[in-house]
Symmetry: C2
Subunit: 233 residues, 2 copies
DNA sequence: GAGTGGTCTAGACCACTGT
DNA sequence: CAGTGGTCTAGACCACTCC
């Protein structure tokens, strides 16, 4: 009857997940303790622990010391998304990837950027605009600001040859960052860049990365209409 | 000098991550083996293994047997997103959550749905439209189809009292699912529902869940303009 | 205070893969 | 075939929290 191999932690995880999904263990219910399960599956408690910890991370289980392990009331509420590496994503579709630098200027921070990058108005910034193509079609329009007070070397880099992303990854260590996903209506400018209609819905990805010394770079990418980000539950 | 406690796996993980981010171990470089690190940190190899496996899952490291562990060329390309539980998300902002069923009809699958839900044209479906409010503001417009051939009980449920999501979670076990994020321009209908302008950019979340017997439900949620989904790198 | 999960250890064997 | 990571074990102690 049991198809999964319950001698390793992946098998145990699959079996536990199956019991949750089939309703044998219902949302909110307490499941047997680790030692009890280790007897049932004929393995060490550590192995059961490994399996259950994974499920807890994925949001299927809620675990508390003393209180035991319960099936989450909202199973599968966490999803891991792969942040697309544009070159690979496009080449994965069998299309030719091309990158084009549109504009590169130095500037100061306006009030919006001061807020987004948490920099003073006096900060020296490098503002880059670029396009990523999938074949002949524009795929992503990207706007990036680099904080030159923190990364002065960036002023001398030729971003026509190497995309800012590639250069930053290999040359500038960072300590933390965040990412935001949202949707906007294409402006006239953006529509022209992406060869779509003004006020089309665009998928927007914003990223900031920083070190202790402050925000290094802020980038926002506008994906051509129809872009979809996909994940399994 | 070293602030993190390197006696437990989280501490070791933090230390390794710091070395990557500070550039001590650069993208593409081979890092010391597990046994070597376990000597350096004064712990068992299993503890180092736990730390490094976590970083590999997050996309910071690439590990291969025999070949060793390398720093990923694209650090932090995976992000775990919390799928918002609308009620909790709204209440977390200090606003009152309210749910309203707009429409509930039985229907057959049109060609789009046949594709999305992988059902035949003869499938009996229940089509629900509803709104989630944050305070007085519409927050999400939701359209859902439930496959009545698989879940006939759904025909008798009063979805005015309990949202379809809540009912499904507690009553219908599922085996798998997927989720898609995208952006669209609001239609006139959607704009009316969400009290926004037609052709505003809307963040759309689509989810399907299924068992061996087929797709149980397909739902798409349209978030009011300005919605942002956020995560840490 | 007692029982749960969280973690560590030391050792062992296995699975994969580069040379 | 040798060396790396992947996993398991049995036992131990700790940390938390419900009763």
């Amino acid at each position: 009857m049991k198809l999964t191999n319950t001698t390793n932690w992946q098998g145990i995880q699959a079996e536990v997940l199956a019991r949750i999904r089939k309703g044998k263990w219902k949302p909110g219910a307490l499941i047997p303790g680790e030692s009890e399960l280790s007897v049932e599956f004929g393995c060490a408690r550590a192995t059961v622990n490994r399996a259950l910890q994974g499920l807890a991370e994925l949001g299927y289980l809620d675990r508390k010391r003393r209180a035991g392990t319960r099936v989450s009331l909202n199973p599968a509420r966490k999803v891991t998304l792969e942040i697309p590496v544009l070159r690979l994503e496009i080449e994965g579709k069998g299309l030719v990837y091309r990158y084009e630098l549109l504009d590169q200027v130095r500037c100061k921070a306006d009030s919006k950027l001061m807020h987004l990058m948490r920099v003073p108005a006096t900060a020296r910034l490098l503002h880059l605009k670029s396009l990523h193509f999938a074949g002949c079609q524009p795929y992503v329009f990207e706007e990036r600001w680099i904080h030159l007070n923190i990364i002065p070397q960036a002023a001398k880099v030729d971003f026509e040859k190497q995309s800012a992303n590639e250069w930053l990854i290999t040359n500038v260590p960072f300590e933390a960052g965040d990412i935001t996903l949202s949707a906007i209506a294409a402006t006239v400018q953006q529509a022209k860049r992406l060869e779509c209609q003004s006020r089309d819905g665009l998928f927007m990805v914003e990223r900031s990365t920083w070190t202790q010394r402050g925000v290094i770079t802020y980038v926002r990418q506008f994906f051509a209409p129809g872009y979809r980000m996909h994940a399994q539950l």
